[in-house]
Subunit: 196 residues, 2 copies
DNA sequence: CTGATCCCTTGATCTGGATCAAGGTCATTT
DNA sequence: AAATGACCTTGATCCAGATCAAGGGATCAG
């Protein structure tokens, strides 16, 4: 198995690649954390302390509503970031949970450390800007689909765009992410598998 | 009336304020554009050339679906930014429209100019990162509400959080933004105004 | 091995919100 | 001043998806 930090460095190669000094700083300013299945990286009421990069495994971020129903906001698997940015930057209590759906390994950067990286190495400002711009675009498209497409279309799109998530994540969670009940998603699946 | 660029400079004071050199560069690398009511800043099929800051007026960004129905993705009024970031950065045709709902004044930064600002003045990387992080957090919360709340709750929240938009934007557009039909929004309004 | 817990499915029924249709009020244009 | 069009409302009906209820197959801990 490769060093978690190497996976992270390789991830940055997709943007502006880090030089040795930046890699060293990033390594010093982050730490590896391992979570077992159903372990929490963040729970409601806590401040989100870690900007987390998933090296291995799969996590979800969700909210618990007044009726006790969970609403999945985001999944993150290998080479993806997960954090409650609002809570992280403001250092205020989060209303979200981040939970490992499988045994997972993440690289965590804490608030003070990220600020340090930003000011010492402007390339991080650049790279994190681009990373979040990409996430923003995806979220906008998801919002549009939520308003413009039927549950059936949204599910088909999800399976097409995220086949690995569709395979590794329980359908209950996909249903919640898409904004439908698990029962209804089950019916959709029954219908479309019959059709093929 | 104050100079549109001064409004933009004042906007940046809320983040890391610009120094004289940065202000000069920003002024040189941007231009003011005035739109009449129903004028377009972007139309489907075009590349989104401008990262636009609203000095005065109000615009909306929307998609037109296969059935010819519009879906509002975002509003922008004074001191807010509007752009199809995906199209802007990739310089690829957009599937969105940006239309002025009122006579409006915007400051536009084109792609090459923004890249120039980013590389010459790293503070822009920082400021635009923070700006989009804030937008991202808002959009996440909107996504959660879309999945967790009823149309009635979403409308009440919209009016509470965006009273000025609720006052200046036609209800048809608010309905589309919230993901309901104008007819249904009208019924919600009738019900809640009776209740008070 | 054995309960307990997930997770998925299927049936019956209900409802939030959509659709279709019509009419009314303003504001803008000619 | 008529006419067009944008915007809002209200009624009647319909449907996508929710809710409630039950059962069944994995998987996992003790």
């Amino acid at each position: 198995m490769s060093d978690p930090h190497d996976v992270l460095f390789a991830h940055f190669d997709r943007y502006l690649a880090l030089d040795d000094g930046e890699r060293k700083a990033l390594k010093e300013r982050s730490h590896v954390r391992r979570l077992k299945k159903r372990g929490f990286l963040l729970q409601e009421g806590e401040v989100c302390r870690s900007y987390a990069f998933v090296v291995e495994g799969c996590l979800r971020m969700y909210e618990l509503d007044a009726k006790g129903v969970e609403h999945n906001l985001q999944f993150a698997q290998e080479n993806e970031w997960i954090v409650d940015i609002g809570s992280f930057h403001a250092e205020k209590p989060s209303s979200l949970f981040i939970e490992a759906l499988e045994p997972s390994t993440v690289v965590c950067i804490e608030h003070a450390d990220l600020l340090h990286l930003y000011t010492e190495h402007p390339k991080f400002d650049r790279n994190f800007r681009v990373i979040i711009e990409d996430q923003f675009v995806e979220l906008q498209q998801r919002m549009l689909r939520r308003n413009a497409s039927s549950a059936e279309q949204r599910y088909a799109h999800f399976v097409e765009q995220h086949p690995s998530l569709a395979a590794r994540v329980p359908n209950v969670h996909i249903a919640s992410y898409l904004g439908v009940t698990p029962e209804f998603l089950s019916r959709l699946r029954a219908k479309t598998s019959k059709g093929s």
